[in-house]
Amino acid sequence: MEQTMNQATTPNQLGASWKGIAFRWETFLLAVFAFVFVMFAMASPYFLSVWNLSDATFNFTERALIALPMAMLIICREIDLSVASTMALASVAMGMIAELGAGVPAVVVIGLFVGLLCGLFNGFIVTTFGIPSIVVTIGTMSLFRGITNGLMGNEVLNSYPAGFSYFGQGYVHWVFSFQFVLFLGAALLFYVLLHHTNFGRRTYAIGANPVAAEYSGIRVNRHKMILFAAVGLMAGLASVLLTSRLGSTRPAIAFGWELSIVTMVVLGGVNILGGSGSIIGVVIAAFLMGIVTFGLGLLNVPGVVMTIIIGAMLITVISLPIIAQRLKAMRSKRL
């Protein structure tokens, strides 16, 4: 009885013991982050400037904003590969309404709205027809990008209203950009949502066993619909930030971002097959990827090499714990 009372005070796996925390993926990622950080600080004298570090956050906050709901979607055994195209479509919509003379609020709202609409469309197709989301969203990835190209041709839309630039370029206080603060807020929100609410628990339950979840009274399709909508909405938000930061819309805006977003999620420890993962992991992974691209940029590493280094890093970081585990298993067998 006493033992069970003790259990009641350690409510779930997330609040595990020190030993449990020490062996978690998030701890490992944090260590890698610290290591990379120190290496860059030694390699470049410019790295440790607060303004430079603040600039570094622009490398990842827009992607990371989408990675947050994407993590939940992947935990739920679905995925959305159309997010970059969604951003492009939202950006075009904003550019066009801005050309008609719309003010800042209208531009932002239309960006968010188009993103939401794209997400709802994906969710509708997936849940209504039961087609795997990887197929549906590869389709809509082309579809949304195609519509973007059709609407724009070779134009550049850049007549955004004054004040719109704040979202992508403004600072809330000192070195803290609007983007960065927004990302921290969103990360906190999604952390609470995934780890401390019924909605989050249901997300894990669906990821663990969608059939049993349905039998347990979870409205699985509705749940997935909400997550697709959330991903779309955040893609719309990211589009607002990116468009504002660039000050213009081109057809190739955010091209290829869906892969770096999914990379962030996977690097953050979310199982690509669904069922497990955490927001903290995704947030650390976002910081890690951001700091690496920024640091390599400071060291004047060319873009091509940077891509190679990031790819190698992803493989190394993900395989290291597995190799360590194998070594440990081999050693224990020998004893």
Binding site: A8, T197, N198, Y215
Partner: protein, 500 residues
């Protein structure tokens, strides 16, 4: 007792998993040319034992003896090298390959410096092995055309291809016809004649007494006893297995019957069932018996809103209700414990307490925020009542035995405080002890005034537990009987479409 030294032995072997000691200081001796039957309930540690013997698991303590020496199996290959082979129900065979390829998979005979497969040698050797076990199979026949029994022979031939010294047969007869079982017995005799030591794992006592020379009993991961099969009787074995004498009676309690709480009127489905009407009263267990494919599960799915094509009416406390999803069914107090425990019932990777609180997070949470302490309380209340065996409610369900998993599923549904509970094959694939616990619990439920609908294809269970029995055949109700009127012959006849 044999005076020889055993060919293979486990001495004081332990294997620990988080929260469970799967093997606790167990002993096992296998003798050359003899069949040893391993007897135990589900969860006794039999599958862990097999995995330890074949190098899939490494024991934390104890020694493995082979041919008078201590050996260790760091991996499955090491056990295979020593000639230890297991034939499971799910032995991995490859449908797209030929019989001979399946027999030699992983160690194809080769020729030349290119190491290309030597087809003629392989087929020749396969033919020899097949002849040895008198299996009428062509080495070049594709596996996918074979029956389950024939595939079994291929699995056995594979075991023999590596000069097996110890053969583990893990419930080999589960999917075999009577004739195929006889053939298996003959193969076992030939293996014995070759001096192979055989471990025979089964639930069927007639098989134990038909083929085994010796027995070993495990219970709850512990070694209980062993000896010659000639010196033991079936009741003695059962008693060793379950630590109490099991009389084949059901803990049926005649609860006081109350008002009709739930009824179904002319429920129909375009293809699965037609014109189904029944009602169930408080304190009543309604048994729904029928063969597989009679439409029982489909009716239950229609009731809880998982079958949009169905039509008909459902009443709760005399009021018509409309259920379009399991969520609405739960809201009305009608819960369904599904047949396929692992696919439909539990989240194997989630902790016990999260499984149990899942259908009613709205009750354990506050304004949408989780309150794990409340979930723990709920789990403690219900999982304890059902006597779920675990050290920790945070243990993932996957680490529990089948019977305990089923208890978690039932606890999950009871915790929703239902009016009507539908149990679909509640004791399918669980051990005797858990079965009794589930039956006992059903009696407690009706005494508390619940209405229970029990779908089952186990005749003794239906006759032992139900107050009223509905018999179905091909989507139609063919008979409704009171407990007192029921006879096994009558029920089977109605279920197979005989008289009505």
């Amino acid at each position: 007792m044999t005076t020889d030294t055993p060919l293979f032995a486990l001495r004081n072997v332990s294997k620990v998993f988080p929260g469970v000691k799967a093997l606790d200081d167990v002993q096992l001796e296998l003798y050359s040319g003899q069949v040893t039957a391993l007897v135990g309930e589900n969860g006794a540690g039999k599958s862990t034992l097999v995995k330890t013997m074949t190098g899939i698991y490494q024991p934390e303590a104890g020694d493995i003896w082979f041919n008078g020496e201590v050996v260790s199996f760091p991996n499955p290959e090491a056990a295979r090298q020593m000639g230890i082979t297991a034939i499971h129900q799910e032995t991995v065979l490859f449908d797209e390959l030929s019989v001979a390829e399946n027999i030699f998979v992983g160690s194809y005979p080769t020729k030349g410096w290119l190491k290309s497969i030597d087809w003629s040698t392989m087929n020749e050797r396969a033919r020899a092995i097949l002849a040895e076990i008198e299996a009428p199979l062509s080495p070049t026949a594709p596996l996918k055309g074979l029956s389950i029994g024939q595939k079994h022979m291929v699995a056995i031939a594979r075991a023999l291809s590596v000069k097996a010294r110890v053969v583990i047969l893990d419930e080999p007869t589960a999917a075999l016809s009577h004739h195929e079982i006889q053939e298996l017995y003959e193969i076992i005799e030939r293996l014995k004649a070759n001096g192979t030591a055989i471990l025979f794992i089964t639930h069927k006592f007639d098989e134990i007494f038909a083929v085994a020379d010796r027995y070993t009993v495990f219970r709850d991961g512990r070694y209980i006893g062993a000896g010659s099969i000639k010196e033991v009787t079936e009741p003695e074995l059962v008693e060793m297995m379950v630590a109490r004498s099991v009389k084949d009676t059901y803990p049926k309690v005649e609860a006081e019957l109350g008002d009709t709480v739930f009824s179904v009127k002319s429920l129909s489905h375009p293809t699965e069932f037609d014109d189904i009407s029944f009602d169930v009263r408080r304190g009543e267990i309604l048994g729904l018996y029928g063969l597989v494919g009679a439409g029982r599960t489909e009716i239950m799915k229609a009731i809880i809103g998982l079958s949009p094509k169905a039509s008909g009416q459902v009443f709760l406390d005399g009021q018509p209700i409309d259920i379009r999803s399991p969520a609405e069914a739960i809201h009305h107090g009608i819960v369904y414990v599904p047949e396929e425990r692992q696919q439909q019932g539990v989240m194997l990777d989630l902790p016990i307490y999260q499984n149990i609180s899942l259908p009613q997070l709205h009750r354990t949470s506050k304004a949408g925020f989780l309150r794990p302490s409340r979930e723990y309380e709920l789990t403690q209340d219900y999982a304890k009542r059902l006597n779920v065996k675990t050290s920790n409610w945070s243990e993932v369900v996957n680490n529990l035995s089948g019977g305990n998993q089923q208890k978690v599923v039932i606890a999950k549904w009871l915790a929703t405080d239902p009016k009507v509970i539908i149990l679909d094959e509640p004791t399918k694939g669980i051990d005797i002890g858990s079965k009794a616990a589930v039956h006992q619990f059903m009696s407690e439920l009706v005494q508390q005034g619940l209405a229970v609908i029990m779908v089952s294809s186990e005749l003794p269970e239906v006759m032992g537990m139900a107050d009223r029995i509905i018999v179905m055949h091909e989507g139609l109700i063919t008979q409704t009987l009171l407990r007192s009127e029921a006879s096994a012959e009558g029920i089977v006849s109605a279920a197979t479409g005989g008289q009505s």
